[in-house]
């Protein structure tokens, strides 16, 4: 089962390595990981996508809570939530391909952010699934490079993750 765990931790050296280390130490999976400071500079927000059965996820959240630098934690996938990931993709774009790529970008509401005579760099945000679909839709052997940020998320409605 895929789970999105978001947490607030002290914005201090070593905090990230403690969280990441926990995953490798106890052989939990990390599918993606994003981390950046919040509006309160003393706190970082980290979002990790992991998978496992109910029991494993319970252990992961308990162990994360035990990490001294972790202040607060939420399993976003427990309730309604919004998740987004950003994709930057560079594709070969020559001849008739150029228009085709442009059309596909429009369909996905992606933006072409850089152009050369032979390549487009495209930016797309959305769920991981949407990003997967966009990459899969590219013509064969045209993808030159892919950079994804990993998932970040927020609960729907009034619910917030804050102190």
């Amino acid at each position: 089962m895929r789970r999105i765990i978001s947490l607030l931790m002290e914005n201090e050296p070593g905090a990230l390595s403690r969280v990441v280390g926990l995953f490798s130490q106890r052989s939990y999976n990390i599918d993606s990981l994003t981390v950046a400071p919040t509006e309160d500079n003393s706190l970082s927000r980290l979002t990790v996508v992991t998978n496992g059965d109910e029991r494993k996820i319970e252990q992961i959240t308990k162990h994360l809570n035990k990490v001294v630098d972790v202040v607060k934690l939420v399993d976003l996938s427990e309730g309604a939530h919004i998740e987004r990931e950003l994709l930057l993709i560079k594709v070969k774009a020559v001849g008739a391909q150029r228009a085709e790529i442009q059309r596909m970008a429009d369909i996905f509401r992606a933006q072409i952010v850089d152009i050369t005579p032979s390549a487009y760099s495209i930016q797309l945000t959305g769920t991981s699934e949407k990003l997967d679909a966009f990459i899969a839709a590219q013509a064969e052997n045209t993808v030159m490079e892919v950079a994804r940020t990993g998932v970040c998320g927020i609960a729907r409605g009034e619910k917030v993750l804050s102190l």
Binding site: G14, S17, Q25, K62, K66, V68, D69, V71
Partner: protein, 567 residues
């Protein structure tokens, strides 16, 4: 500043070893007389000694080591303390701040290396942070589920030329660290109801009861209920071993009656335990098949980690036990005496098996179990017993009945050979007049025997009882049982030192015992040396195995009882 902060924290004893990165600190130690420093002969021993001190007293052990090899040598001891939840603060020197990351001389990333085996760690960046970090380190190490905390201090931070205002914080607030207190009252009520409704109850108590100072309350609760109780290896002493309700240790080398009662119970109260694989055996699906499981622990991550709890209770053992006793006193429902009495009859039948019975050899060869029994007689069951790891450790656990908590000092979780002697030193330093015994084997002992010298320097009259079977006994036992008796690298009889002479070379007393008839008299002789360390080299039967022994992959009821008998 560091030493002052340690003093303000109530530290009076440090175990350590100097080196370049901590010389400023050592100079500060030299110029004061409030904190005593014990110079060990290897940093691993410093951590084990601090660990032994902590286990015996309940106070945190403090260690001071230098950077690089000093820090890495301390790692085994930190991991040992981590696995057994022992409060410890390890201060490691670090190269100067400007050299960090440059592969400087004696540089190692201590915070990184120790990360998976500490409760938390700090890297001091400025001297002004020292008092607060020391305060936090001790707070974290000693509260909740205790554990080791590392403070890494670059050399320039302790430069005496830095003059700063000093104030030790009276208290601290940490938004990211909270200590569980009371358990959930509703859950406690549920647990008490389940216990009172039990036909075949069982109490399973572990190291958490000792660490949480809950032994007296546990004893009170158990006696009120009249239920059978077993202790884990880490929990020995949490309930008096000489009491009739005590079924002995459980698990891999537990008694027949304890393991059978576990398997067939219908309500199990686990308290301060973590359902470790040495208890449950490897296949947890076969564990206590009929039981409703009540689990009390201060660490939420220990609950339902390996075995799912039906009634989980997170809280300190003392708070939970107090509330359970109160709840029990007020309950209208009473213990089902008829069911309990037939349960005890059944347990009585299991006890008749006498799974720890020892049949003496007629040719005078000493069995290792007999040595521990004699030790118990001679010390009147009142010694602090530290051990190393292996057969001797199991024999000591099985045959030295511990009636009090904090008397049994052993590396349970990590299973660290070389733990015994330094731990016994830590105990002796905590209680100068107490009898501190180290039960060891000739294999384990050689892993930290350099501490003979520390014992001489500080006049520590530890009594070392070496069950010398001239082989790595537990390895050999497994090779006998599972590898067709192929003793791959578990024997070395021809290269063993003369331990009596070795002890004498360090200025101690050495005694050798080879015949059963001499056992009691010579042990008495050893304990008559009140002010001297005595090494007793007891030659024991190398063929002896530790029984009972759990059958791999089986349930708790599946045990090998002797070389010829199994359940």
């Amino acid at each position: 500043m560091l030493i002052r902060a340690l003093h303000d924290e109530g530290v009076d004893l440090i175990f350590g070893y100097p080196g370049g990165a901590v010389l400023h600190i050592y100079d500060a130690i030299f110029r004061q007389d409030r904190i005593e420093h014990i110079l060990v002969r290897h940093e691993q021993a410093a951590t084990h000694a601090a660990d032994g001190y902590a286990r015996a007293t309940g106070k945190p052990g403090v260690v001071l080591v230098t950077s690089g090899p000093g820090a890495t040598n301390a790692i085994t001891g930190i991991a040992t303390a981590y696995m057994d939840s022992i409060p410890m603060v390890v201060i490691s020197g670090q190269v100067e701040s400007r050299l960090i990351g440059t592969d400087g001389f004696q540089e190692t990333d201590m915070v990184g290396i120790s990360r998976p085996i500490v409760k938390h760690s700090f890297m001091v960046q400025h001297a002004s942070e020292i008092p607060m970090m020391v305060k936090k380190a001790f707070h974290i190490a000693t509260t909740g589920r205790p554990g080791p905390v590392v403070i890494d201090i670059p050399k320039d931070v302790t430069d005496p030329k830095l003059k700063l205002p000093y104030e030790y914080p009276a208290d601290i607030k940490m938004r990211s660290y909270a200590v569980p207190g009371k358990g959930h009252s509703g859950q406690i009520k549920k647990a008490v109801d389940a216990l009172l409704g039990a036909k075949r109850p069982m109490i399973y108590a572990g190291g958490g009861v000792i660490q949480g100072e809950g032994a007296a309350l546990l004893t009170e609760l158990t006696r009120k209920l009249g239920y059978p109780i077993t202790n884990t290896l880490m929990g020995l002493g949490a309930y008096p071993a000489s009491d009739k309700q005590f079924l002995g240790m459980l698990g891999m080398h537990g008694t027949y009656e304890a393991n059978m009662a576990m398997h067939y119970c219908d309500v199990l109260l686990g308290i301060g335990v973590r359902f470790d694989d040495r208890v449950t055996n490897s296949d947890t699906s076969k564990f206590c098949p009929d039981a409703t499981i009540l689990h009390v622990d201060i660490d939420p991550a220990s609950i339902s980690k390996t075995v799912a709890a039906d009634v989980p209770i997170v809280g300190s053992v003392t708070a939970v036990l107090e509330e359970m006793i109160e709840c029990l006193d007020q309950a209208e429902q009473k213990v089902d005496e008829d069911a309990l009495s037939s349960w005890w009859d059944q347990i009585g039948k299991w006890r008749e098996k006498d799974s720890l019975g020892v049949t003496a050899h007629t040719n005078g060869v000493i069995k290792p179990q007999q040595v521990v029994q004699a030790l118990h007689r001679i010390t009147k069951g009142d010694a602090y017993v530290s051990t190393d790891v292996g057969q001797h450790q199991m024999f000591a656990a099985q045959y030295y009945g511990f009636d009090k908590p904090r008397r049994w000092i052993n590396s349970g979780g990590l299973g660290t050979m070389g733990f015994g002697l330094p731990a016994a030193m830590g105990v002796q330093l905590a209680f100068r007049d107490a009898v501190s015994v180290c039960v060891t084997g000739e294999g384990s002992f050689q892993m930290n025997l350099q501490e003979f010298a520390t014992c001489m320097q500080y006049n520590l009259p530890v009594k070392i009882i070496c069950l010398n079977n001239q082989s790595l006994g537990m390895v050999r036992q497994w090779q006998d049982m599972q590898y067709g008796g192929r003793y791959s690298h578990s024997t070395y009889a021809e290269s063993l030192p003369d331990f009596v002479k070795l002890a004498e070379a360090y200025g101690h007393v050495g005694i050798r015992i080879e015949k059963l008839d001499d056992l009691d008299a010579k042990l008495e002789e050893a304990f008559a040396y009140k002010d001297k360390l005595v090494f007793v080299d007891v030659r024991v039967d190398p063929e002896e195995h530790v029984y009972p022994m759990a059958i791999k992959g089986g349930a708790m009821k599946d045990m090998i009882l002797s070389k010829t008998e199994r359940t």
